[in-house]
């Protein structure tokens, strides 16, 4: 910490604060929420904020604040687990591709290109069409979509590391490929991976929202931020809160996670190289 500038410490603190805040809400949501997320108050349709409903109600008269709080868990679970899955898969693919190079690299990366060229939502609709909608399938689809981009980033960062002499030294020692990849190469990529993960996490929330919007998200009436935003969209001009509230939550969480990632990266870079990297 002592190597960081005060601005970087602030970034780290804000980031971790926001992340902790949302994590707590995700865990304790059902106990914190002022009301029930699914109860429809037919006498209070499309209301603005009031003392009874702090963020107003949507067109079915459901409490926006309660839905927002309850929906946090779904949203974070989907985004976090899909990002985690994508990171593990993508890192493994990227490392292997960079280390072996040549034909392995060529095949893996061309497959990757095909994947990236394929429109995300078309792919998602295809997979969910086959597997059926649901949280688990949603996670799988988003993870698959992000795997290729993480693999690409990890590969290009790893390419600069696998040629270094300490990797040669490990090979001369007779280390296994698993050891070289995990202990010699991977730790040098953490700063890059962290940044990529944070960006993907933000996108994961947005993709979840998109999937919900085209009706392939978590089945209703279970609330999640994306579904909330898309449901309220048609009445946004007269009843903005059901859209604004989840949007603000998404922005806040994504910004917070990126702050956290940036701070962690700087912390890692500073500890192991003695200077503060400006970019990954």
């Amino acid at each position: 910490m002592k190597n960081l500038t005060s601005q970087q410490v602030t970034t780290l603190l804000i980031g971790s604060g926001i992340a902790a805040f949302f994590t707590l809400i995700a865990i304790f949501g059902p106990w914190i929420a002022p009301g029930d997320a699914e109860t429809m108050h037919f006498t209070h349709l499309k209301q603005g904020p009031s003392s009874e409903f702090l963020l107003g109600t949507d067109r079915f008269g459901r409490d926006v604040l309660s839905r927002l709080i309850i929906g946090t868990r779904t949203t974070i679970v989907i985004a976090a687990s899909s990002t985690a899955l994508a990171t593990v898969l993508g890192t493994a693919i990227g490392l292997i591709s960079a280390y072996f190079g040549g034909r392995v690299d060529g095949v893996v990366m061309r497959l990757n290109d095909v994947f990236i060229a394929f429109p995300t939502l078309v792919f998602a609709m295809f997979v969910i069409g086959v597997l059926g909608p649901g949280i688990v399938n949603g996670i799988l689809v988003i993870a698959l979509i992000f795997t290729s981009s993480i693999a690409r980033v990890v590969r290009s960062a790893a390419l600069g590391v696998v040629i270094l002499e300490y990797v040669d030294a490990a090979r001369i020692r007779g280390e296994t490929i698993l050891f070289i990849l995990c202990k010699e190469v991977l730790p040098n990529l953490y700063p890059t991976i962290i940044v990529e993960v944070c960006i993907r996490f933000g996108f994961a929330i947005l993709v979840t929202a998109s999937l919900s919007y085209i009706g392939l998200g978590p089945p209703p009436p279970m609330p999640d931020w994306g579904t909330m935003a898309s449901e309220g969209r048609s009445l946004m001009l007269t009843n903005p809160w059901p859209v604004f509230a989840p949007c603000i939550a998404i922005v806040l969480l994504v910004v917070g996670i990126n702050f956290l990632g940036d701070g962690l990266r700087v912390l890692l870079v500073a500890r192991r190289t003695g200077h503060l990297g400006s970019t990954a």
């Binding site: 030294a169 001369i172 200077h275």
Partner: protein, 688 residues
Amino acid sequence: MMAVQGVGNPHETPALAFHDVTISFQTKAISSPVVRNATLTIAPGEAMALVGESGSGKSTLAYAAMGDELNGARVISGRVEVSGTDISTLSGPMLQRLRGGKVAMVPQDPMTSLSPSLRIGRQLYEVLSLHRGLKGRPLEDSASEALRLVDLTDVPRILRSYPHQLSGGQLQRVLLSLAMAGQPGLLILDEATTGLDVTTEAHILELVGRIQRETRTSVLLITHNLGIVRRFCQSVAVIYFGDIVEIGSVEAVLNHPAHPYSRALLDCIPPIDSHITGQRLPTIDGAIPRRTDMPAGCLFAPRCQRATDVCSERVPELRTISPGYLARCVYAEDELASMLRSPRDTLLNERDSSSVHRPIPLLEVKDLVVTYQSGRNRVTAVNKISFSCNRGEVLGIVGESGCGKTSLARCIVGLIEPKGGQIVFDGQELTGYGLRRPHPLRKSVQMVFQNPQSSINPQHTVEQCLMRPLVLYELVVRKKRRDKVVELLESVQLGSEYMGRYPHELSGGELQRVAIARAFSSDPDLIVCDEPVSSLDVSIQAGVLNLLMELQQKNKVSFVFISHDLNVVRHVSNRITVMYNGRICEMGTPSELFVPPYHPYTEELLAAVPMVGVRKRKVIPTGNPSRYTTTTDTPCCQFSGRCPRYLGMICDKSVPPDKFTHSERHLYCHIPLKELESMEPVLEKVVE
């Protein structure tokens, strides 16, 4: 104004003059000086060398001469004059005319100094039209002429080329022609030849010398290599941590330095004379002080053997010792009086072939071929090389970059697979590479790399780095591993306090010591050292070399020691192999190699290597490097294209025979042995 150096007319306006110049980094709170009170003058037509370790402020000084700020270091007091003009009075456009027009610089790295996306011609036209106002036909003509001036052949092709299409030597020539294009009065070479091969370096310096004499251009040569100073410059300034500590003629400074620092630097260079090998090189103790922790008195005092209380109390003046000769030391006269060089301690054993009793071959390489794919072409890096390295022996391999020495090293340690031939280690043939090698063999062959920064994982502490081989090979029981790591660290003269440090907290020299400890940790039989000291400063080089050789003798390890530096290889090796273009030219003990008969390539190498303390034969035939041929699989002498003693078709059509039948000495050449033996020796020791 005082004329400091003995060269040139003192009444002539100097090409460059520094008057009491202090250059400093300015941040909000602090100002830390990089160069303090520098005073020097360079007369028209004079070549002055500026010598010092990295971080001593050499480049900062050079940038100040161009009115530029290196990394934001500014001249805060004093005056910099170029041809009598105080450059602080110049405005933007006038400064621009000064740069390139009056002062020009040739930087160190040609690859980053030329724009990769513009053709050479375009970059040359720009300078010519800016400084000479040329256009159209005359512009093209003078561009061609500028390239011809620097001995480049095939000018039209070079004008059309992009930088990546040219070799390092060609690029450095292009940079030189760019610098000369504005017809400057002062040429600054900032380590301009450091990255080049010795022979290319020699050609380029010769060229600069010719230009300097013909056009009376002054030259400021920044270098850490004292050898090239002697050959090329008339005067020399030695700079230590921002202070010019000694300034005078080359003869004075290099033959009998008055400042202990200059003497120590000279002593660090491995001696070329054959009787001294196998001895410890003197080293400079300690390290350059930190900027935050400046000594009160003489900056060199903490490392100086002569230092007394006086030295640490006040800063010594740069004072005149004899006309045109200044030194910044209280004891300069005493230093001059004690002309005897400090005696060198001997190592445990005298290093000579005879010290390797009853040679038992450890490593045998037979007809080894290494090829690699470069785009669509297959390049043969190592072409049917055979040699052996005995137990406890240091086998030096010397050659230019691209001669295949690194490919050879990587093949021996099992990083790349040979295309043909055999590697026999300890009677066992090594097939396959890396993990496919049997377990005990992996342990017994280790490697020390050139660049310590990239050979140790920045994510691991020193302890983790040294612990790993112990764990992997299960050499030491778990409880004693930590003690073993401490022991290893102590064997490379580092304390246990280094255990928890990360590589970025260590200097280059310390890192290389850790890398050496790692190589020795598995108690190997063979260590391949690939340019282990090339990236280190001279003063640090000596310490690391001493350490390597001490450990080698103590542990009875064999070394395959690869370097482009003939001085270093000469110092450490029992036998030396000279490689050119993937083939062995000559092989023998150092004493055999340094006297005739020479292979023509060895002769050229010896002539090109900068050395201190020897006089060289005046006339040395040199081949034309532009006749350089790439490796081919057709039978021929690889050196024929460049050979100054080229015989004719026989050299192009058949593989040269070995002139010796003796198993330890080889010389592959078509020239009759009689003729080779009658060559005049290249080196002659200077009797001091």
